[in-house]
């Protein structure tokens, strides 16, 4: 039942993402050629922003899961931690990669080491990578879970810093287009496609996290059966 639900949510999200990208390419209005070096590349925004949004959801999930494991010793919390780290890594990479493609076209360089938003988000993605690869290389146990949960808890500090970075220190990354006061510059059609993208990515990442939690649960069951058989 859970498997079917997770698979359905995942596929719905995937279809939504494909639709968003189709609309972004064919329907979204063009931007002023005077405002951008590379106006066509601006359409990557319909991928980049929803992917970053999904990454924040995943990091939030990771934080809650880490806290549940660390303070309550909840197995559900550990499964949430694993799912949040995997989803955070995937969506973080999507965001970084799409940002670098746009940066190359618009700025002439894919990365700016002086920009706070870019660097804090990059660090978050590295944190997720450390958690995913670290878990795969360590034997599962209370100490391992405690260590990785601590990183999940403290690493979350980077999420609000990343969010406010372009409001406090606007260096190279563009300022907020939504919720940024008068500086917002989205017309109705653009906002609608962006909203569809945000919903699709949210559904997609929710499906992925449900699937990932199920996989961790199956791994734990298999491991406990094998341990019991070894003892016999």
């Amino acid at each position: 039942m859970t498997k079917r639900l997770a698979e359905t949510i995942l596929l719905l999200g995937f279809i939504g993402i494909a639709t968003t990208l189709g609309l972004a390419l064919l329907k979204a209005p063009s931007v002023s050629i005077n405002a951008f070096e590379s106006p066509e590349a601006q359409r990557i925004f319909y991928w980049h922003v929803p992917a970053a949004w999904a990454a924040f959801i995943a990091f939030g999930f990771l934080f809650v899961g880490s806290a549940l494991w660390f303070f309550k010793r909840s197995n559900l919390g550990w499964r949430m931690h694993v799912a949040g780290a995997e989803a955070g890594l995937a969506t973080g990479l999507m965001t970084v990669w799409s940002g670098m493609v746009w940066g190359s076209a618009e700025w002439g360089v894919p990365w700016d080491w002086t920009d706070v938003r870019l660097n804090t988000f990059g660090l978050l993605t590295f944190l997720a990578m450390f958690l995913v690869l670290g878990r795969q290389s360590q034997p599962d146990g209370v100490e391992t879970r405690d260590t990785f949960s601590t990183f999940g808890l403290f690493g979350f500090v980077l999420v609000p810093v990343t969010y406010v970075a372009t409001r406090l220190w606007q260096i190279r990354h563009p300022g907020p287009v939504i919720g940024g006061g008068d500086s917002g510059s989205l017309n109705g059609e653009m906002a609608l496609i962006l909203l569809l993208g945000a919903i699709s990515f949210t559904v997609f990442i929710a499906g992925h996290m449900l699937m990932s939690m199920r996989i961790t649960s199956l791994e734990q069951r298999l491991e406990s059966i094998q341990e019991a058989m070894d003892k016999v």
Binding site: L25, S38, P39, A41, W47, A105, M211, I215, E219, I225
Partner: protein, 52 residues
Amino acid sequence: MAEGMTYLAVAYLGMLIAIGLWTWTVFSRSNDLEQRLQAVERSIDTIEPEQE
């Protein structure tokens, strides 16, 4: 202009293929684990009557 849109279409397609592959690996990991679990449970079922 047209060249830029072609690059963008290729980038979009690449990203869709990447997330499609990621989704596929998740599906196959889940199916693989399910099959392994079923095989282990079946082997336990066959061992238990023998022991009785």
